[in-house]
Amino acid sequence: MGFSQVSTGVPGLDAILSGGYLKASPTLIMGQPGCGKTLFLLQFLADGAARGERSVCATCTESPERLHEYMGALGHPVDQWSAEGLFSIVDLRPVPGEVVTGSLDQTVVKVRLDAALAAGGADPSAGRLAIDELNRLAYAFDSAGVAREQTLALLRELRDSRITTLISSADTTAARDSLMDYAADAVIELRQTIEHRLMTRTLRVTKMRGVPHGTNEYPFMIDQQGPSLMPITNTEGHHRSRQGMVSTGHARLDPLLGGGLYRGGSLMITGTSGSGKTTLCGQLANGLCGGGLKVTYLTFEQDESELRHDYEGVGINVAPHLDAGRLNFVRARSVDCGLEEHLIRLARMIQTERPDALIIDAVTSMTDLGDPQAVKSMLLRLVDTCKSQGVLIVMIELLGDAQNSVSEMGLSSLLDTWIRLELHRQDGEYVRLVRVLKSRGANASQQIKEFRITDQGIVIEDPYVGQGSFVFGTEKLLREQADARDLEIKNRRLTRLREELALLPNTFEAQLAQTRIERDRALDSLKSEIDDLEQSIRATTHDARALSAARGGGA
């Protein structure tokens, strides 16, 4: 539509307004007292002054001195701007004791605003104007809170003069109706609610002529730097590649994960109390830092000195990384603020600190801050933010003892890698087990491994896998010893059988030779007897013929 817009000076808000407040138009910010309206005004003016635009703040309740202080407290060089004429305050507070008799006209307000904007011969429409708590401007509203014709005329004139104006007003039904419908081209409503005893502030754009804008309720937070919204990050898809993989710095952990962890990936470490989650995270932090990465460790549970002490006790020496600024412990308390503010804080921290990896110990600390759906949604957006910034996010999930090792957060779809730590009870001991439940895009180990926390850090070992069952710990040792004995017996028997095998053919050969000899002997014996008999028979026959011949022939 060709509406030009001006930046709001509030991080995250320009994106929701597709550029900023409407230029040359009044924008109305409505909300209950204390929800931060004035800060939106001051940031809008500061943004202008920082760009060299003349910025004028008109105040209907707060003293000019106080506003000046606020501006300074937000970190702006307000004294310098005032000296340079870039920032000035028009005091629209009523003087006490004024009485009214007869008709009046409030055009003088516009005259004063114009004069402030035009000081030094400037073009009023080139500047920025904010009017704080217009609803408190004397004579501007009737007793019911309806804007008088005078007020509407003022706003009309501001628009006719093409002055970019931001107006705040308390959220009364009457003021809302009269101002919203006629006076403002854009309306932003601020709301604050108490959820789970924590303050949650939200912003909603209810009207914005000619400009597409977000229509949701957007959470915002207020800190020393003023209000800010969840940054909308450009989601220029994160591409998985081997180059995008980083080593955990642990020789057994990398293969378990199929090579390492992806930049911009998400890792969840789930486990019950005492299963070694924090130690594993310390090992990871140390390993990632050792690979030259910058790691931010957000801890909800222990402070830095406690963690350092615990890590040193298991041989994880993080001191060099802390000194080198690669590792940064951040202590947070879940009850400091609501879910949404935690998210905004984290997103801002990521944008300012630019870590390569963010470790959150533990995300379950935030489950008390909202219903499961809200917590899941918050973590989803956190993972998205990390992904878009190429930040590896490592989350710890503490499982309750009654949960039977089942995650109740329903986060599986968010995760690239999911490691489960278990305490396995057998006989008289607990054994720590580690298992990769899921690892997108990596050839992770399917096997349950045993891991031990030693004074040299974490040691990951293969489990005993004989006899069709997994056995760990002391029982694993016993089984292995029994197996060794068993093996020795078998080996000995094998040797004996092999010897027998070698000897057996010889035995039979010898018997065969003997038999052959006996056969030959038997044959020889038979042959010689037959010969003897034949000779004997021939000799007998010859004798008989000779005898017959001697007797004179046959008779």
């Binding site: 004024e98 007869g102 409030q106």
Partner: protein, 103 residues
């Protein structure tokens, strides 16, 4: 210095107006009935309006040790006199007793 009806050394009044509308003219006429008055058009002197924190016109200011501000066209001159207090609550004719308008 002292010219008109109020007693000598009477405090100066300033009337802030904007333009020449019927309301402004009526206010000027009414204010002048009180005594010496300086008329300031805020369009000509916005800085004076800023310094005096004028939120509406006409506004009549009494700026001495008994300051008062009255917004409007001053149509109820008796109420105006009462609010301004001495010496303005004693009209120039001298007909009315000073205590005429005590609340």
């Amino acid at each position: 210095m002292a010219t008109a009806q109020p007693p000598a050394g009477s405090p100066a009044l300033r009337l802030f107006v904007l333009g020449h509308s019927e309301t402004m003219r009526r206010a000027i006429t009414n204010a002048r009935a009180l005594g010496r008055v300086e008329v300031v058009d805020v369009r000509d002197d916005p800085a004076a309006a800023e310094a005096a924190r004028i939120l509406a016109t006409p506004t009549l200011l009494r700026e001495d040790d008994r300051p008062a501000r009255i917004v409007g066209d001053l149509r109820d001159l008796e109420a105006v006199r009462a609010h301004l207090g001495p010496p303005y609550d004693n009209p120039p004719g001298g007909d009315d007793p000073p205590a005429h308008h005590d609340r």
